[in-house]
C-alpha cells in the first residue's frame, strides 16, 4: 500500500539556494503530510519513542495527522516537546526516532521530523493567543534560568507554565543561544525564535538580555536576590583551536566567530555594521553540523570554492545526514582522510593549509576507527580563509565565579543525571554546559528533567 521511501519534501534548487540565506527546505503540504503519516504502522511498542530524548508520543501525533486533525496532533506534540518547529528542523532524526522506526528495516523510516515540523508550522503559523485558563496560578517561588538556548528555553517555559516566577538571563542581546548565534537562517529561520520569545512573555517569564551570569551577577548574588532555585544552561560556547602553527593569521576563524558574525550580527547583509571577510577559497576543518553550517554559509557569502577537511572518512562524518547531503548538493567539496598540520601565511594573511594524509586504524573509545597519519604524504590546499569547527567546550565563567561547584576535567558541570542537580543544593544544570557540545533535543530533555525536579522540590515544601 505505502511506499518504501519517504514522501519527498520541497527544497530550493541547490544552485539557487547556495546564493541566498532563504530556508532550504520549504516543507510538506497537508496532502503530503497525510500521505507520509499513512506510512506509519502505529506500532504498539513504539520503538520510535525510545529514540526520542523528550519522549514525544510519536505514533499518537502521527495518527492525528492521518486523520487531518493537525491541531490535535500539535497538542500531543507540544505536551512533550516545547520546540517542535525547531526540533523538526535540527534533530538528528536518523540517530533518534527515525533510527528506531520499524519501516527503516526495509526501506526508509517514516519522516517523523518532517511531520513534526509540518504540524508545528501549521499551528504556530496562525496567530496564537495563550488560553488564560491554561495558566496555573502564580506560586510563591522564583527561579533564575541562566542561558536562553534550548535547555534554558525549555526549563523556563515548563516552570512558568506551572506558575513559577521565572527570570531568564541571556548574555547576548538576543535570546536563543546556539539557535540564534550558531544555526544559520537557511536551516532555522530566526522568526521561529521570535515566536518562542513571544510565548515566554505570554507565560509571564521575565527576560533579561545583556546579562552574563558569572560577571554581571554571580550565582551567590542570584540567591541573595531571592531566587529559590537556579538552572544553569550556559551552553558549550568556548571554541576549541587545534594548536597548530598559523592559527593566529588573519583569515582564520573559529566556526563560532564566523557563524556569530553572520547569524547574530547579520554580516551577510550589505549594510551590516559587523564585517566579515569576502573569501575566495575557504577551508572548513571538522565534520559536524557546525562545520556543515560554516561551509554552506561561506558558499552563500560568495566564496568561489569551499571545502571541508575531515580526518576520518565520509562514513564517520558526525553531521546530520541531511546536512551532508545538502552540502554536497550545494557544491561543497569534501577532503576526507586529511588532517591539517599547519596553516600557511604571508606573515599576515592565510594563503594555504598543509594537510597530512590519514588512514583508518583500530576503533577508538568512541567506537569509530581512529585516523592514523600516513608518513610523508602531504598536500597543500590554497585558501584565504580557514574556519575551525572541531568542537566547543563549556563556557568557564560559571565555574570561575562559583566557588564550590564541581566540574569534570573537560569543564562540564557535574550533575546527578536523574535530577540534574549539581553538588550545590537547588542549583541545577543541563544541556551542553554539562555534556559539552551535543544536540538541541538532548539539551531540551535536560531542561525538562530539571524543571520537573524543581517543581517536585517546591511541592514537597508545601
Amino acid at each position: 500500500m505505502s511506499s518504501l521511501v519517504k514522501t519527498p519534501i520541497h527544497e530550493l534548487d541547490p544552485l539557487v539556494r547556495n546564493q541566498t540565506f532563504d530556508e532550504v527546505v520549504t516543507g510538506y503540504t497537508l496532502e503530503e503530510a497525510m500521505k507520509e503519516a499513512n506510512r506509519c504502522l502505529e506500532c504498539k511498542h513504539a520503538p520510535c519513542m525510545k529514540g526520542c530524548p523528550v519522549n514525544v508520543r510519536i505514533p499518537e501525533f502521527i495518527h492525528e495527522v492521518k486523520e487531518g486533525n493537525i491541531q490535535k496532533a500539535y497538542e500531543i506534540l507540544v505536551s512533550e516537546n516545547r520546540l517542535p518547529a525547531i526540533c523538526g528542523r535540527v534533530c538528528p532524526q536518523e540517530n533518534q526516532c527515525e533510527g528506531k522506526c520499524v519501516r527503516g528495516i526495509k526501506g526508509e523510516p517514516v519522516a517523523i521530523g518532517r511531520l513534526e515540523r509540518f504540524v508545528a508550522d501549521t499551528v504556530e503559523g496562525k496567530a496564537q493567543v495563550l488560553d488564560a485558563k491554561s495558566l496555573k496560578k502564580t506560586l510563591p517561588y522564583k527561579v533564575a534560568v541562566i542561558g536562553s538556548g534550548p535547555a534554558g528555553l525549555t526549563c523556563a517555559a515548563e516552570l512558568a507554565q506551572e506558575g513559577i516566577q521565572v527570570t531568564l538571563y541571556e548574555a547576548l542581546h538576543k535570546i536563543g543561544g546556539v539557535l540564534t548565534y550558531g544555526i544559520p537562517e537557511f536551516r532555522l529561520p530566526k522568526a521561529l525564535i521570535e515566536k518562542e520569545k513571544d510565548k515566554l512573555v505570554q507565560l509571564g517569564v521575565e527576560i533579561k538580555t545583556d546579562t552574563l551570569i558569572g560577571r554581571s551577577y554571580t550565582i551567590d548574588q542570584l540567591k541573595e536576590m531571592g531566587f529559590d532555585a537556579v538552572f544553569i544552561g550556559s551552553g558549550a560556547g568556548l571554541p576549541r583551536f587545534m594548536n597548530i602553527p598559523g592559527e593566529s593569521l588573519n583569515g582564520v576563524y573559529s566556526a563560532n566567530e564566523y557563524l556569530t558574525r553572520v547569524n547574530l550580527m547579520k554580516a551577510y547583509e550589505e549594510d551590516a555594521r559587523t564585517p566579515i571577510k569576502k573569501s575566495g577559497n575557504v577551508v572548513v576543518i571538522g565534520g559536524g553540523n557546525v562545520a556543515m553550517d560554516a561551509a554552506r554559509t561561506a558558499k552563500r557569502l560568495g566564496a568561489d570554492q569551499v571545502s571541508v577537511v575531515y580526518r576520518r572518512s565520509l562514513e564517520e562524518l558526525p553531521a546530520r545526514a541531511e546536512e551532508i547531503h545538502h552540502a554536497m548538493e550545494e557544491e561543497i567539496e569534501f577532503n576526507t582522510l586529511w588532517n591539517p598540520v599547519e596553516i600557511i601565511g604571508d606573515g599576515i594573511n592565510v594563503t594555504a593549509i598543509q594537510c597530512q594524509k590519514m588512514e583508518l586504524g583500530e576503533a577508538d573509545a568512541s567506537g569509530r576507527r581512529r585516523p592514523v597519519p600516513v608518513e610523508k604524504s602531504y598536500k597543500e590546499i590554497p585558501c584565504d580563509t580557514v574556519i575551525i569547527a572541531i568542537g566547543q567546550t563549556p563556557n568557564p565563567l560559571i565555574k570561575m565565579s562559583t566557588p564550590g561547584i564541581e566540574t569534570y576535567d573537560f569543564g562540564g558541570i557535574k550533575v546527578n543525571e536523574e535530577t540534574m542537580e549539581t553538588n550545590m543544593p537547588l542549583i541545577y544544570a543541563g544541556g551542553d554546559a554539562v555534556t559539552g557540545a551535543a544536540t538541541v533535543i538532548k539539551a531540551m530533555g535536560a531542561g525538562k528533567v530539571a524543571s520537573k525536579e524543581i517543581l517536585k522540590q517546591f511541592i514537597q515544601k508545601n
Binding site: 548565534y181 552574563l212 554581571s216 560556547g237 593566529s248 566567530e257 556569530t260 547579520k266 555594521r273
Partner: protein
C-alpha cells in the same frame, strides 16, 4: 536604563560618558570592561571602564571616536539611553599585595589605567604615574592622576607637556635611577606596551598590560580576541584583558588588530564619516 548623565569632551576624538548602569556599577572591578550596542543590529563595541561609582550606580566610559559606532556614540547627549550595555566583562586586574607601582598610560589607555592606579593608592601603594600622548590635550585624566600619584611625569610627541618624546624615555631614566618597583602597569597602544615591556624586562619587574583586541561577543564564545601568552592561546575577554606583558606575543597582536581595516573604512565612507 543606561541613561547618560554626564558627558565630557577631552579633545577632538576622545570623550567620556558617565552612564547609569546599576548592576555593572555594583560588580565592576578595576581592569574590567563592557560591551555596548548603540543601535538596532549595531556592532558589539568593547569599551574600557574608567570609573566605577556604586553609590550613584554609574560607570564612566572613555571613548575614542575612530570607527563607525564610536563616532555615532559621540553624538549621544546627556539624557540619551545606550540601548545595550553588557558587563562587567573580563577578569579584574590582579592588584593585591603591591607596594610600589609604576603606572604607564598612553592615549586613551590612560582611562582604564586610572581605576587600577586609584585602587592601588587606596590600598597603600606608592604610585609613580607616567602619562603620554600626542600633545597636551591628549593627556586625559590629568588632575585625577595628579591627585592619587606620589610622583608623576608626562611625555608628549610635540613637547607641549612634560618631556618631548615617549613614555619609555621617562621610564628608562626612572628605572636606571630606581628599579625597586614591584609592579609596572602599562596600558596604551600595542607598540607602547611592547616598548615598555622591553624596558622592564631588563630590570625583571613584573609588568601587566591590558589588551583590547577585536572581539564580537565578549563572553568567550567567538575566540576572535585570542592572543598568545607564553605558549598558550588565551581569550582577552574571559582570561584577560590584563596579562603578563613579558609573555604576550605583541607582534601577533599588532598583526591581528588590522584584520578589518578595509571593511571598516568602507562603512565610514558609506556613512560619510571621515577620519
Amino acid at each position: 536604563m543606561n541613561t547618560i548623565i554626564q558627558r565630557k569632551h577631552w579633545n577632538e576624538v576622545v570623550f567620556s560618558l558617565e552612564v547609569k548602569a546599576p548592576h555593572v556599577a555594583m560588580n565592576a572591578k578595576p581592569g574590567q570592561f563592557v560591551i555596548v550596542i548603540i543601535e538596532e543590529d549595531g556592532e558589539r563595541v568593547p569599551l574600557t571602564i574608567a570609573g566605577i561609582n556604586p553609590e550613584q550606580e554609574t560607570i564612566t566610559l572613555v571613548i575614542q571616536a575612530v570607527g563607525y559606532s564610536t563616532k555615532k556614540l559621540a553624538q549621544f547627549n546627556v539624557g540619551d539611553n545606550i540601548p545595550h550595555i553588557l558587563g562587567p566583562l573580563g577578569e579584574p586586574a590582579p592588584l593585591e599585595g603591591y607596594k610600589k607601582v609604576l603606572v604607564v598610560g598612553g592615549g586613551v589607555g590612560i582611562a582604564p589605567l586610572y581605576p587600577q592606579a586609584k585602587y592601588l593608592k587606596e590600598n597603600g601603594a606608592t604610585i609613580y604615574s607616567v602619562l603620554g600622548g600626542r600633545s597636551e590635550e591628549y593627556i586625559i585624566f590629568r588632575e585625577a592622576f595628579e591627585e592619587i600619584s606620589d610622583e608623576y611625569a608626562y611625555a608628549t610627541n610635540d613637547g607641549s607637556l612634560g618631556v618631548e618624546g615617549f613614555v619609555t624615555d621617562v621610564i628608562e631614566k626612572e628605572l636606571a635611577k630606581d628599579s625597586s618597583y614591584d609592579l609596572v602597569i602599562a596600558i596604551g597602544p600595542l607598540v607602547m606596551m611592547k616598548a615598555v615591556c622591553e624596558v622592564t624586562r631588563r630590570y625583571n619587574i613584573k609588568t601587566n598590560v591590558s589588551l583590547n583586541p577585536i572581539m564580537v561577543d565578549g563572553t568567550g564564545m567567538c575566540g576572535g580576541c585570542r592572543v598568545t601568552v607564553g605558549d598558550q592561546t588565551r581569550f582577552a575577554c574571559v582570561h584577560g584583558p590584563d596579562f603578563d606583558g613579558h609573555l604576550v606575543d605583541f607582534d601577533e597582536a599588532i598583526m591581528r588588530q588590522g584584520i578589518y581595516k578595509k571593511e571598516e573604512n568602507h562603512h565610514c565612507r558609506l556613512e560619510g564619516i571621515t577620519e
